[in-house]
Amino acid sequence: MSHTLKLKKGFDINLSGKAEKKLAACDQPKTFALKPTDFVGIQRPKVMVAVGDTVKAGTPLLFCKMMEEVKYCAPVSGEIIEIKRGDKRKLLEIIILADKEIVSEPYKKFSAAEIQQAEKSELVNLMINSGVWPNIIQRPYGVVANPADTPKSIFVSTFDTSPLAADISFVLKGEEKFFQAGIDMLKKLTPGKVNIGVNADVSQDTFSRINNAEIHPVSGKHPAGNVGVQIHHIDPIAKGDLVWTVSAYGVAQIGKLFLEGKYDASKVIALAGSEVKNPQYYKTYTGACINKFVEQNVTGDEVRFVSGNVLTGEKIKSDGYLGFYHQQVTVIPEGTHSEFLGWILPTTKKLSFHRAFGLLSFMNGNKKEYVVDTNMMGEHRAFVQTGVFEKVTPMDILPTYLIKAILAEDFDEMESLGIYEMIEEDIALCEFVDVSKNNLQQLLREGLTLIKNS
């Protein structure tokens, strides 16, 4: 085990409504959806099923014409009841009415030893057809990896420091065997190392006992758990480099595919947030409709349902669907209110990273939990204050300069300032603390798209 990576910069957003570590008993939702919009890289999705078709868990539903071999598969078995499209016929959701008993497509099983011996191509072939491949994300750009590429290393972060995040150790309890098999599989995909970032602040972490990989204990405030931050310090991405990342859940899912011969999209998710009556964990499947969990379980009328965490997540409806990569649903108050003199009145109740006049939340200490709504808390302005982004970005990167390079569409500057090392989640905290209220994640994505298409 290498020595602990201690990160000083960052900011923990301590929200109220943390999920209690117990699994709630709840009926499964009736419908599930696969949302092509969850996958940043999909440009031209092609649907392989029609309304009325019956599918099993692991039946391919669609692929992208730019990378035809990778299939995106059904999380559950059932009947396709709707293929939802938006403006210009943009594919939004493929909705499945789930069976009572989930039936899976049978795939070939492997033992742990067989994984080590099998041909890489055979294993990859199974992964791209069964639905687990989209777990593998390529950096730069944060898109689904191309199976034809060979990454210089693979990274897995096994803890999530974002607000109200699901506890990954709790979520993957009992799945250690699958996680190990997944790591063994990933090891075959790269000539370099498989690096696992583990939480150095937790003793006896299950993930630090994993073999066949390099363990890196990381400690610090958010975004210490972000895989991008860990890559930056362990094996940074330069121009031309390819690094793959997989979530801890994704690793276990890959392992399960080989050991059990099925695409198992079952997933433990956290339902959290200040507006949830009983914040706790639920066992369901990827793409679940959230209505069963939030029905009768939410206080307040005007709330926002977020698939994912409050820094990088996406607003969904009360009967919307959980995102492919998301492991939590957060419910927070909607901030449609105008506060009288809210820009100057002193307050200890509003969470702030800053200490400007009247922002007294720093006096509460870091134990206090906050209720934060979705109000912008101000209006968009030009960049004025400097040095703040650097305080919440534990990387040797100058976010302000990078963003300005993106605004100027200066490709050389973007490259040399490190755009390859970042995706949305790595700049999310800057977006939160920004005095001038810029939508930095969106800007960063525009920059990434420009470079990718150049």
Binding site: A356, A382, Q385, T386, G387
Partner: protein, 400 residues
């Protein structure tokens, strides 16, 4: 507060698209957001929650930090008037006289500057940027109390127009707006901003033997005429009023003539504490300026080629506008360096340059103004090299 909200809601349609005053929407918005933080919510994708800070609060913090200097300045105008004219005035009268002199300058500065800002806001269709709220308060604090109001207006309009709006508005300007105004006055109307202008006399005559010169001017004079050490000459000035008129303590506390807000180093330091504690002003820049100035002055002490060089180094920190400039002008985030390491370099260079200009250039007794403006111009260059080093590290990592 419902009734204020109702007033805004009732009148809003007239300013919306198609309304009678649709062009004045930015104006309406500015006032509405002054009363109510708007009900805008975060976009569907991305950070769903935002920090409670905004630019209004940040700028307001700077204004609050300036209040001690402003209040002291108002009183000091009355106090200096009483001393210079030999009248007996109580504290209330001094404050009242100061208010009568200073308030019009503040009003003219804000009125003229905001007019320009609003015209540009309406042209570009955006609400007022808060940046001028600070500049509009800084300008009165760096001018002498005797300044003609029309000059304040012209200088402010010039600074906002040429110093800021031509570059694209708040956040884009290269030179500090308030200092641009000050420099404009200095070069366009030198007779109203040098000489015996630092004490408001009104229609009264000064007492015999009173000199209204600033310490910098006296020190310069002493150095050129070689009439003894600066400290001695200062001690012999204005003895008609008090024997220790120009003592170090008096200069530190600010009981001396000068620009309205800059005389009291103590009040400026209170402002510095507010700025640093709130994280709004960069402590690196402030410390850098003071350190750079002090060390340079110490070095000059050792060389000691003329009287000014021999003036004790700590005197430099309390005379003239050095402290005020270091705390309120050099820290302007838009015109300062933007990298953390750059802030040190920028601050220290301002300190060094200030002393160099003071001591070697009798034509410009006030060094801090020119030092900051010069470093404003060089700030992007400093940042360029800091950013280049960052890029270099990235390239080196790649080849390993």
């Amino acid at each position: 507060m419902k009734f204020i909200k109702d007033i805004f809601d009732k009148n809003k349609p007239a300013f919306e698209k198609g309304g009678k005053f649709e062009k004045l929407m930015p104006l309406f918005e500015t006032f509405e957001t002054l009363f109510f933080v708007p009900d805008h919510v975060t976009p569907a994708k991305g950070a769903q929650i935002r920090d409670a800070i905004d630019l209004k609060r940040m700028m307001m913090t700077v204004i609050i930090a300036m209040i001690p200097s402003l209040v002291f300045g108002i009183w000091n105008v009355g106090y200096q008037h009483a001393l210079a004219t030999g009248q007996a005035m109580d504290f209330g009268q001094q404050i009242w006289l100061g208010t009568l002199v200073v308030l019009p300058i503040v009003i003219v500065s804000y009125a003229s500057g905001l007019t320009v800002e609003f015209i540009f806001g309406i042209r570009k269709g955006h609400a007022l940027n808060e940046g001028f709220l600070v500049s509009g308060m800084l300008i009165p604090l760096v001018v002498p109390p005797t300044i003609p109001l029309w000059q304040v207006a012209i200088a402010t309009v010039f600074a906002v127009l040429i110093g800021k709006e031509v570059f694209g508005g708040t956040g884009m300007n290269i030179f500090n707006v308030a200092l641009t105004a000050r420099a404009f006055l200095y070069f366009a109307y030198p007779s109203q901003i040098s000489g015996n202008v630092w004490t408001y006399l009104g229609d009264k005559n000064p007492v015999d033997g009173y000199t209204g010169s600033t310490i910098l001017a006296i020190a310069n004079e002493a150095s050129v005429t070689k009439s003894g050490s600066v400290v001695e000459v200062l001690a012999n000035s204005n003895t008609i009023i008090s024997a220790d008129f120009f003592s170090f303590t008096n200069m530190f506390l600010g009981f001396i003539p000068g620009s309205i807000g800059e005389t009291s180093t103590l009040m400026v330091l209170i402002g510095a504490v507010i700025l640093i504690a709130t994280g709004v002003g960069s402590w690196k820049i402030i410390t850098g300026v003071f350190a750079g100035a002090y060390l340079t002055a110490l070095m000059f002490n050792m060389i000691g080629a003329n009287g000014f060089m021999l003036m004790p180094a700590h005197y430099h920190l309390v005379i003239g506008g050095l402290a005020f400039g270091a705390v309120f002008m050099a820290t302007d985030p838009v015109t300062a360096t933007q990298t953390e390491r750059g802030k040190w370099i920028y601050g220290i260079l301002i300190g060094i340059l200030t002393i160099v200009i003071r001591v070697f250039n009798p034509a410009y007794p006030e060094g801090i103004m020119l030092a900051i403006l010069l470093m404003n111009a060089f700030a992007p260059l400093i940042d360029f090299y800091i950013v280049k080093a960052n890029k270099q590290r990235r390239i080196q990592r790649a080849t390993v």
